[in-house]
């Protein structure tokens, strides 16, 4: 069930290079699963901006976003006390029941946030691999560790953690893998972990975010699906990976 409501920004701070953490207070009742997103209305811009839910705790919602254009730039300038209109309860989210004994969570860059609520829902009983380009982009390593998760950080340039890609830090000794991050990362994971069940969160440009405009539809092995409605989380096996 989706809901539209005004939230009040309680804090908004930079936590890594071009990455901000915003905490908001409001009616979070429509947010059910880890891996859902909210669609944020920003003054002066026509389309809402879809942002994944990082955490929800009572009436407090945490969003982590990267400044990549007008919308997110404007978000980064909001001060505490500001009001934001959010469309909440969007998308399917990750299936917790698939996790099994040894789930693996893999996040790349600003794909990390939705995995935080997932790790929390899994009671911290998971392996987590976080990938970034360099040390100045790293965030949330400690937050995942505090949940009790077994966290590994990799950077492409080796300036923090292990040097390499997330695929260098994962092995097949897992019951299910959950991922969010750049398309190339998801595709590489799907190839490396083929045969092991996986859930990937796909990003697409959206119009509405709730299934009305068909702007974000992708072709899967199970037919045409809307990323905003039937996704954003898909079975890695049903995604048709393009080069």
């Amino acid at each position: 069930m989706q809901r539209i409501c005004d939230f009040t920004v309680s804090s908004n701070m930079q936590i890594a290079k071009r990455v901000f953490q915003m905490k908001l207070v409001g009616d979070t009742s429509a947010i059910v699963n880890a891996g859902e997103f909210v669609n944020v209305r920003i003054d002066g811009l026509f389309l809402r901006r879809p942002i994944s839910v990082c955490d929800v705790d009572g009436d407090e919602l945490t969003l982590i976003y990267k400044t990549v254009g007008k919308g997110t730039d404007a978000m980064s300038e909001l001060k505490s006390g500001a009001t934001l209109n959010l469309l909440t309860g969007l998308g399917n989210g990750y299936g917790l029941s698939l996790a099994g004994e040894r789930p693996l969570l893999v996040g790349g860059g600003v794909g990390v946030p939705p995995l935080y609520l997932l790790a929390k829902r899994l009671g911290g009983k998971c392996k987590v691999v976080l990938g970034f380009n360099s040390a100045d982009e790293v965030f949330y390593e400690e937050e995942f560790a505090k949940l009790g998760a077994d966290v590994t950080v990799v950077t492409v340039d080796g300036s923090y953690g292990k040097k390499g890609f997330v695929t260098d830090a994962v092995d097949g000794d897992i019951t299910h893998w959950y991922a969010c991050g750049p398309y190339a990362m998801l595709r590489a994971l799907a190839k490396k972990l083929e045969g092991v069940g996986g859930s990937v969160s796909i990003e697409e440009r959206m119009g509405c975010g709730f299934g009305a405009c068909m702007g974000c539809s992708i072709i899967t092995k199970n037919g045409v699906k809307r990323v905003c409605k039937e996704g954003p989380v898909f079975d890695a096996e049903e995604v048709i990976w393009h080069m």
């Binding site: 069930m1 026509f46 389309l47 469309l87 440009r205 959206m206 509405c208 009305a212 405009c213 539809s217």
Partner: protein, 304 residues
Amino acid sequence: MAYVEISLSGLELDNPIIPASGTFGFGYEFADFYDINILGSIALKGTTAQARYGNPLPRIAECTQGLINSVGLQNPGVDRVIAEELPKLKKVFGKKAIANVSGFSVEEYASTARKLDDEEQIGILEINVSCPNVHDGGMSFGTDPKCVYEVTNAVKAVCKKPVYMKLTPNVTDIKAIARACEDGGADGISLINTLLGMRIDLKTRRPVIANKAGGFSGRAILPVALRMVYDVYETVKLPIIGMGGISSAEDVIEMMLAGATAVEIGAENLVNPYACRDIINDLPKVMEKYGINSLKDIIGGAHR
């Protein structure tokens, strides 16, 4: 007392507010937000003979006070629309809906329209000769008066229900197209569809939309739509469903003054799913503010 009821080719609507095709799916998605039975009617997602995925992604781009889309008529095809989508809509919407039909040949327009004409849930057929996002179809029909005449004629020949031709604004002379609809036997005219537009990404230096161009809609296009509705009202005697950039009760009244009997709300639904409900709620007090007793009295009121 504010009277908001209107009559559209014999169809009595509780109010003139109709969500526009392509911005409201097959209606039932919005039943999660509010009781959609408050709407005058619903213009359903554009339907073609065969199922279509549409155009490559990305097919959405932000604009100032609007957006560009190049969805390209994604739909499950007319047979599945009738078998699956209409029953889902029926569960949450008890009124007559407006079917929106697209095609790639005159025959295809007629055969798809005929199937939907048989459906009891459908009150009006809106024939889209204006989609900017499909090659060799849609808009290419809508830019040539002779083709518009042929499509209108062919659909009218096989359908019993009122036929509204949905026109593209991407023409030099909208009056000539409107006359072709009237000559072809149309019962009404819907306008405007989207304006062809483009955005270019400064980082990649390439068009944002994979198909390069797409259809521009949203609040920014209201003045263009008003001018075209005004011109068409002066040219033909047919009722008009006016659309393009409407986002408030004031806009509805402005569009009706230009000549519209009913209006469709499009892009606004995508950013505010409650847009139609809000407009319906606001209408009586805005009518009162401007001394309007009945909306029926203001249709074409700007033509004096």
